[in-house]
């Protein structure tokens, strides 16, 4: 059991190295080459791996917080509608750019730069979804967040944002529809801005440190509200902190890679199987597992782009890897009963 930290860390670094060394070659037709890159290629691959690792770790950490907050093993960053909110923010931004460009003749790329690509709109969208979810999830009279109400609010927000996206999409020209289509698949780019990576990495580090600092209280919060209160843990403050941390982490990761599902759901479960439910260990292992899973998914996406001519979207890959893994974990625990 004690070997899991070095093993998972080694696994994560190993897949990162494999991803770093895997790339296309055109020497004798297009093929995969395993070699340490250099020059521009090295920079591009490092950026992509760093983005995948940061997004995977953020989503996984967010999943740990949410599963604790909602006391629900099926909770993940997307169940609260945060991803839907971020995606709707981007879709509305593209819609506004389209209208604005038609009126003023301003090039799209200038407008894109004003919104820092999709970063600003997705962050604002996730923040608005978070506020809406918070407002709807409050338990009247008690003044704190009710897990059941929060989940219901999240489902409603996801449904509404999905419908709004479809509505806006139907009004857009073909070019913008294609942009939205590509965004919603999720994509980790080699040319993700450094400031965005550093910012998200900073958010991840702060959230991780706060989580570790209150690891004991997170363990206690897994018990019932009354038991937690009798042990001196303020559930009100705890839920608020968890909610804000998970929202910020999700918003930051959606800003980098678009909506990528399943990482936040599956990685906390894998980590729990490895090191048990103690949050002091879970909070260390879960981000590493998340980073490794997304790096592997991204590697397969890159390789499929070379071998099959069309890259399999990274969101699809995480679901394809995570789904059977989740089934295996479920089977292992319940034996299909």
């Amino acid at each position: 059991m004690r070997w899991w930290l070095p093993i998972s860390l080694a696994g994560c670094i190993g897949v990162a190295l494999l991803s770093l060394c895997t790339g296309p070659t055109v020497q004798h037709g297009l093929a995969i080459r395993l070699a340490i890159p250099h020059g521009i290629t090295l920079g591009l691959r490092l950026t992509r791996i760093a983005a995948a690792a940061i997004v995977g770790a953020s989503l996984s950490l967010s999943g740990v917080y949410l599963q604790n907050l909602l006391r629900n093993p099926l909770a993940d960053p997307y169940v609260l509608g945060l991803s839907g909110g971020a995606s709707l923010g981007v879709v509305m931004w593209i819609f506004c750019i389209s209208i604005f460009s038609q009126i003023t003749g301003l090039p799209h790329w200038v407008a894109d730069m004003l919104g820092f690509g999709h970063t600003l709109p997705s962050f604002v969208g996730a923040a608005l979804a978070m506020i809406a979810c918070f407002w709807l999830g409050r338990r009247s009279g008690y003044g704190y967040l009710d897990p059941v109400r929060l989940i219901l609010a999240g489902v409603i927000i996801s449904t509404i944002t999905g419908a709004c996206m479809l509505l806006i999409n139907s009004f857009l020209p073909d070019y913008d529809q294609t942009r939205i289509y590509f965004y919603l698949f999720g994509y980790i780019s080699e040319i993700t801005p450094r400031w965005l990576l550093i910012g998200t990495g900073g958010v991840l580090a702060v959230s991780w440190a706060i989580g570790l600092q209150q690891a004991r209280r997170l363990d206690i919060a897994s018990l019932s509200d009354i038991e937690a209160a009798s042990l001196g843990v303020s559930m009100r403050r705890m839920r608020m902190t968890n909610f804000i941390l998970s929202s910020v982490l999700t918003a930051a990761s959606v800003a980098i890679a678009g909506p990528i599902g399943f990482v936040g759901l599956i990685c906390p479960h894998i980590a729990r199987r490895l090191v048990g439910p103690t949050h002091a260990r879970l909070l260390v292992i879960a981000p590493i597992v998340g980073a490794a899973l997304l790096i592997v998914a991204d590697l397969i996406t890159r390789v499929s782009g070379i071998m099959l001519d069309r890259p399999i979207p990274v969101g699809v890959m995480t679901a394809l890897i995570g789904g059977p893994l989740f089934l295996y974990l479920m089977r292992d625990r319940t034996g299909w009963r």
Partner: protein, 326 residues
């Protein structure tokens, strides 16, 4: 402060004992890196040289029509990668060309590996994504943004592509030949009665050829009158009721997929012998073979209506095919 100190103590207690193992793992990773560095291979780029020893431009084309024009100009050697949309239209050794992605999302790493000198796009200059601009700037690759909205654009675009691929002479000859052939078919079209036509690009949903595009030009040059123009420019989506209201004499259906689709069968039932199925795969591309396509459309729309749909197989077309070399 004391709480933070407590947390640090707990953290050290739990993870401190892993330090030796972590060091072992790090050492193993170091060994792995050293082994991998042995696999290091220097990057080589294809450098094509012409017979005269000049370096051939390295072109990445994301526009299927531009790729076809380059191949028709016999400048295929300068192509180093194509888009995902090109692949089904290529044959022979050109099918082995690497696929770079599409006009919105390029494979950055493959672009870096190929190091092209020209990138062909067909997009409004204001819509070119910022990341593609910056990538091209970094690779010192010139963006050639072509326009192929009407048959008239073909001449200018062919000359631009010829200049980009280093075959200006061949491009000029092709343009002169094209202009001559278009003059001939324009004269021929003036001598035959004009037929009201609808050109369906897909049957479910129903998308037709509207006004102000090269397919509308093709119909006009083939001696038809595109009644779809009434419903807007470009390629509007319409309902079946609107299609009935247009009252065309011939319905051209570009339908390279199944003829058993219920939407296509509905057209067959409703219009019978007036439905002509266009089976050539590059019908939606404007290339130097446009005159040949216009002639084929001319034969389809002026052929007498038969009981069976699918005038592509009309005897006149077969004669035309026999007459023309492949």
């Amino acid at each position: 402060m004391s709480r933070t100190a407590d947390s640090l103590t707990i953290f050290t207690m739990i993870y401190g004992k892993y330090a030796a193992r972590m060091l072992t793992v790090m050492a193993l990773i170091g060994v792995g890196l050293t082994v991998l560095s042995g696999c290091h291979a220097k990057s080589h780029h294809y450098v094509f040289k012409s017979k005269s020893g000049h370096e051939v431009p390295r072109i990445v084309s994301t526009v299927p029509a531009a790729t076809q024009i380059l191949l028709q100009l016999r400048a295929g050697r300068s192509l180093v990668a194509v888009s995902t949309y090109d692949k089904p239209l290529l044959a022979g050794r050109w099918r082995k060309l690497p696929v770079i992605g599409n006009y919105l999302r390029l494979n950055t790493e493959l672009m870096t590996e190929l190091h092209p000198s020209r990138l062909i796009l067909q997009i409004d200059p204001a819509l070119i994504p910022a990341d593609i601009r910056s990538l091209c700037h970094r690779l010192d690759c010139r963006i050639i943004d072509i326009k192929l909205n009407s048959v008239a654009d073909l001449e200018h675009t062919t000359l631009r592509l010829g200049a980009a691929a280093g075959c200006v002479g061949r491009a000029r000859l092709a343009v002169v030949k094209l202009a001559r052939e278009i003059r001939v078919i324009t004269r021929q079209a003036a001598r035959v009665p004009i037929v009201p036509v609808i050109y369906c690009l897909s049957t479910n949903p129903l998308r037709i050829v509207g006004g102000k595009n090269f397919m509308d030009d093709e119909l006009r040059l083939a001696g038809g009158r595109n009644v779809g123009r009434q419903l807007g420019d470009g390629f509007p989506k319409i309902t079946h009721a609107e299609l009935l209201r247009l009252n065309a004499k011939k319905i051209l259906v570009w339908h390279p997929e199944s003829v058993f689709h219920h939407a296509y069968r509905w057209l067959q039932r409703r219009y019978g012998g007036r439905v002509c199925r266009i089976a050539w795969p590059d019908a939606d591309l404007l290339t130097l073979s446009v005159v040949h396509k216009i002639r084929r459309i001319n034969l389809l729309i002026h052929a007498p209506a038969t009981d069976r749909a699918g005038a592509e197989s009309a005897p006149a077309l077969h004669q035309e095919r026999k007459r023309r070399p492949a």
